[in-house]
Structure formats: structure tokens, C-alpha cells
């Protein structure tokens, strides 16, 4: 029988995992609606809270603190990045557990496909779908509020793609924790809410105490959100943002290696304890 080898076999396996995930999503279509609505709903929530606190002066106070009066785009960009980072971490982190609950994890682990390919592949569908939803959410928002800047979503999206790589690394880390401790959604939801608090999702990071800002500096979303706002709202180019892009690149090199190393360590231990067969 003819088999493919090396990179070709990995690509074919990734394509199959992606296709399987896509079919599953299309056969359970409800969550598309949730992901489309979530950034808008959170933005309205923030606008309502801001108006309740600062009244008619809310917009001007906001401009003083953030440098822009464009509250909707500011919040939509933050909310959309938060949504996608939540999904990446949750999907990578819980992919293993989801397969375990379905009863199919061991079937995947029996195959000679590499664990790295499997782990990335299992979350790839969600990431591609949410990236497309991100383009729709941000694209529609920019087209309505500031149509002249519609093309800026292209470099903004490129910055997001670079930021997704370290997020995969954080996802690998959580995949390990989920294998060890089960209860995936507790982990990923707490972490995602912490992300929203620390990364400037709805307010500038500079509002936070200095020592918390150090933590924010270790999270890729902080740079992605800031870069996207500069590109879309302040019309800056990727070249202007080389400093933060360089940091994102460094995080993209470190986090996946670190996260995958932790995952493999826990996975090996789970092999001895028979953890993968436990529900």
C-alpha cells in the first residue's frame, strides 16, 4: 500500500483533521452565531457602563485617556482579539479533553501521526473559523464606522496572525494541565478572563499598576491589540510597529517550545498512569 512520508504526510494529516473539524462545526452550526455576536455585545456592554459612570462626558474622558474618540472600533478590536485568543487557548487546551470525552482520543493516539501535528490540527479548524469571523466582525465594524480605513484590516490581520503563534504555545501548556487535572473549562475560562483584564482589551494597559503591567508585557495579546489599534485607528504601518512585532516574534519562538515541552512531559506521565483512558 502506498503511504506518504515526512512533511507531506503531516500536511495530509492536518488537512484531514481540519476537514473533520469543519464537518463537525457545520453539523453543529449554533456557535458561529455566538462568535459573530460576542464582540458586538461586549462593546455595547462597555459603552453602556462607560455612559453610566461618566454620563455625557464619557466620550471626551475616553479620548483623553486613550487618544481616540473612536470608542466603537477601539472596543471592537480589543474584544475581537480577546475572543480569538480565548478560542485559541481554549481549543488547543481542550481539544485533547474533547476527544477523550467523545471516546476517540485513543484512536487518534494509536495512529502514527505526530502528537504535535495532532494537537495543532485538532484546534486548527476552530482557529481558521474564528479568524474568518474576526475578519467579518472587524471588517463590518470598520466599513460602517470608518470606511476610509477598510484596507487597514489587512496589516492588522497580519499582526494578529503573528500573535496567534505564541497563543498556540499557551494553549499547549493548558492542554497539558487539562490532561493532568481534567476540568478543562475551569482553566481556560479563568485564564481568558485574566487575559481580558491584563491585555488592554477594553482600556489601556497603562491604567494597571506597574507590576501588573509587567505581566501584561508577557502576553502576546497586549501587543496585538495595541498594534491593531495603531494600524486601524491611527493609520500606522507595520514598519512603524517593528518594536512590538519583534517582541511578538520572540514570544512566537519561545512560547510554543515551552508549552509543548510541558505538554509532552505531562503526556508521558499520563502514558504511565493510564490517564488518557480516564474520564
Amino acid at each position: 500500500m502506498q503511504t506518504s512520508t515526512g512533511l507531506r504526510s503531516d500536511i495530509r494529516a492536518l488537512a484531514a483533521i481540519f476537514s473533520k473539524g469543519l464537518k463537525h462545526h457545520l453539523r453543529y452550526p449554533g456557535e458561529f452565531l455566538l462568535f459573530l455576536l460576542l464582540p458586538f455585545l461586549f462593546t455595547f456592554l462597555i459603552l453602556g457602563m462607560g455612559t453610566a459612570v461618566a454620563g455625557a462626558n464619557a466620550a471626551s474622558y475616553f479620548a483623553i485617556r486613550t487618544g481616540t474618540t473612536n470608542i466603537v472600533i477601539y472596543e471592537i478590536l480589543g474584544g475581537a482579539v480577546w475572543m480569538i485568543s480565548w478560542l485559541v487557548v481554549e481549543d488547543v487546551g481542550t481539544a485533547i479533553r474533547d476527544e477523550q470525552i467523545k471516546g476517540t482520543l485513543e484512536q487518534n493516539f494509536l495512529a502514527p501521526v505526530r502528537r504535535f501535528t495532532l494537537l495543532v490540527g485538532l484546534s486548527l479548524t476552530d482557529v481558521v473559523i474564528t479568524s474568518l469571523l474576526f475578519l467579518v466582525v472587524v471588517g463590518v465594524s470598520v466599513a460602517v464606522v470608518m470606511p476610509g480605513s477598510i484596507l487597514t484590516i489587512i496589516p492588522a490581520f497580519l499582526a494578529l496572525l503573528l500573535g496567534l503563534i505564541p497563543l498556540f504555545g499557551i494553549g499547549f501548556l493548558f492542554a497539558g494541565f487539562v490532561v493532568r487535572f481534567k476540568e478543562p473549562y475551569i482553566f481556560t475560562q479563568i485564564v481568558s478572563l485574566v487575559f481580558a483584564t491584563l491585555t488592554g482589551t477594553y482600556y489601556p494597559v497603562t491604567f494597571l499598576p506597574y507590576w501588573i503591567q509587567l505581566l501584561s508585557g508577557a502576553l502576546p495579546q497586549t501587543y496585538v491589540i495595541e498594534d491593531m489599534r495603531r494600524i486601524v485607528i491611527a493609520n500606522q504601518t507595520l514598519v512603524n510597529l517593528y518594536g512590538s512585532l519583534f517582541v511578538l516574534l520572540a514570544l512566537a519562538l519561545v512560547y510554543p517550545v515551552l508549552g509543548y515541552a510541558v505538554f509532552r512531559r505531562i503526556e508521558r506521565r499520563a502514558g504511565v498512569t493510564g490517564e488518557f483512558s480516564k474520564y
Partner: protein, 312 residues
């Protein structure tokens, strides 16, 4: 956090066997004996805390990727497939994970669907399959990569007689093609019918190993009396051990309380001792419905080795 050593339970110890090409090797034992743990170690899902095994020459502790390439595995249970995919989509997915190229995969999938009788239901979602169809699809999945070594964990569990027959026929054909096959079962008739050699496993250890006829020959020196009875309790059955001629007694527990129990008695000079055994049981208020002298089965081999029935 990660250094804590979990409380250890020895699930399998001292399991040692070789399976050549073209042989069906049966692992027979009651539930919890260590059959599935052995299979899961052989297919790299569980890492042994000591020792090693080799699949087609590759170590399960050092060459796990190669081991997976050389294995086709069917684990027990029907939730081993994606229910929201069709039968064909499931096989396409796993074919890619086994690195089959798309042209080979297409032909192989069609051949396998035909082999297990699912060719006319290939585009039906697995959630709409019957249990038997799911198990047949799971069996087909194990054959996707045409591996030299095949592991089947309870391949006919939950199958109707017709499907069981089909799967057994395919397993025999695979043997003729030269595959080395290991199958676990707690069904002694299946082990007897299919296996060239059988290892009887209990409490994680192989208690005896040989061809079914060799193993049965070992217990032929005794007479085996099968007594069907009602109101029979374990205590009464065990009391039969006090007769010097009785070597082993095991109750084959009825799955439905209150129904007929089956008792196997291994005994010297059975015809002479039988009246005394029956008299003893009647005295204990046991209602005897049938008494038969039977030819030994693998169940009797298990009873002779462990003093318990396979269903204990």
C-alpha cells in the same frame, strides 16, 4: 505538582509471549484480568513501568512511532468513532492519520467497507448506525493500514451471531494472509474457535499457555460434571471441596438472580462420587434440574488453574 508518585497498582506483571506471523494468539481471562492493559501497552497507549515488548521488531518503549506504523488495533467499544461523520468519512480521516496516500486510501476504504458489509451505508452518519455496524466499522478501521500485526480487543463483544461469524471469518482470512494476530476475549468459545494458541490470564499474570487442545488435554484426567440447579449459593458449592475426590469447584454465576445456576465440578472417579454430591446438594435444599458429564472447555482449564470461573 508533578513529582507526586501516584499510588501504584500492578495491573500486569510477568506477561511473556511471542506471536509468529500467521498465528492467532488469544488472551483469555475474566474482566479485569489485565487483557486490555496488555493490549494498551502493546499499542503504546500505556507505557509499562518496567520491561519491554517488540512489535515486528520495534520496541514499545523506544520506537513508539514505528510500533504504531506496524499495528492495526481495534479497541473495544462503539464510541471509538466520530458519530457526526459518515462511515466513509471516518475511514478517510483515520487513513490520513495512518499516512495512506489519497489514491490508496480511496481503494482501501471501499474494499474494507465491502468486506464488513457497510458499502451500501458508507454515506450514513455513524450516529444512525446500529451497534453492530459501528463495531464492524471499528474493525475495518483497524485494517486500514494493512499492518503486519493486528490487535483486536473483544472484537465480537455486543455483536449479533451473524456479524460475529463475519468478523471471525475475516480474522481467519487475515491469519492466512500472514498477519500476526492477538485477540483478547472473555468468550471461551471464541478463543477456542479462533486461536492457535491461548494464554489464560488472571490478576495480570499468564496462568497457562498453549494450544486449546493442549490446554484441554491437561484437565482431561478429571471428570467434569456440570450441574444446573436453583437455590444454589456459593457457600454450598465451596463445601463440595471437602470431598477428597473433588479437585475444583466453580459456580458459573447466572446473570439473573433467582434463575438457574451452573456449577462445574472437577472430580476423580466422577460416576462413583456423583450420587454423594447430589445427595449433599439436595440436603442443602438445592433444586437440581440437570446433570451432565461434559468434555473439558477452556473454561475448565481456567477453573483448574485458578479455582474460579471466567465469569467471576
Amino acid at each position: 505538582m508533578f513529582r507526586k508518585v501516584p499510588k501504584s497498582v500492578v495491573a500486569v506483571a510477568g506477561v511473556d509471549f511471542t506471536v509468529p506471523k500467521g498465528e492467532i494468539f488469544g488472551l483469555l481471562g475474566p474482566n479485569g484480568a489485565g487483557k486490555t492493559t496488555t493490549i494498551k501497552m502493546l499499542c503504546t497507549l500505556i507505557t509499562p513501568s518496567g520491561g519491554d515488548a517488540f512489535i515486528n521488531g520495534f520496541s514499545i518503549t523506544k520506537d513508539q512511532q514505528k510500533v504504531r506504523e506496524n499495528l492495526g488495533v481495534m479497541l473495544t467499544g462503539e464510541r471509538t468513532l466520530y458519530w457526526k461523520l459518515t462511515g466513509r468519512e471516518n475511514l478517510e480521516y483515520f487513513a490520513a492519520l495512518y499516512h495512506l496516500d489519497s489514491v490508496s486510501a480511496k481503494k482501501r476504504i471501499w474494499d474494507l467497507l465491502k468486506l464488513v458489509g457497510l458499502d451500501e451505508r458508507e454515506d450514513t452518519l455513524v450516529e444512525n448506525y446500529s451497534t453492530g455496524m459501528r463495531i464492524r466499522l471499528s474493525f475495518a478501521k483497524a485494517l486500514l493500514n494493512d499492518a503486519p500485526v493486528l490487535l483486536f480487543d473483544e472484537p465480537t463483544a455486543s455483536l449479533d451471531p451473524q456479524s460475529s461469524h463475519l468478523i471471525r471469518d475475516i480474522i481467519r482470512d487475515l491469519k492466512r494472509e500472514g498477519h500476526a494476530i492477538i485477540l483478547t476475549t472473555h468468550n471461551m468459545e471464541e478463543a477456542d474457535l479462533l486461536s492457535d494458541r491461548v494464554a489464560i490470564i488472571d490478576h495480570g499474570r499468564i496462568v497457562t499457555l498453549g494450544s486449546p487442545s493442549e490446554l484441554k488435554q491437561k484437565v482431561k484426567s478429571s471428570d467434569i460434571i456440570e450441574i444446573e440447579a436453583r437455590n444454589l449459593v456459593e457457600q454450598t458449592a465451596n463445601a463440595l471441596q471437602s470431598y477428597s475426590e473433588v479437585s475444583k469447584v466453580a459456580m458459573i454465576t447466572s446473570p439473573h438472580p433467582g434463575e438457574t445456576e451452573v456449577l462445574r465440578v472437577h472430580v476423580e472417579k466422577g460416576k462413583e462420587v456423583l450420587p454423594r454430591i447430589l445427595e449433599f446438594l439436595v440436603r442443602k435444599q438445592v433444586t437440581i434440574t440437570k446433570v451432565t458429564f461434559i468434555e473439558p472447555t477452556l473454561e475448565d482449564v481456567f477453573i483448574a488453574e485458578t479455582g474460579r470461573s471466567l465469569r467471576d
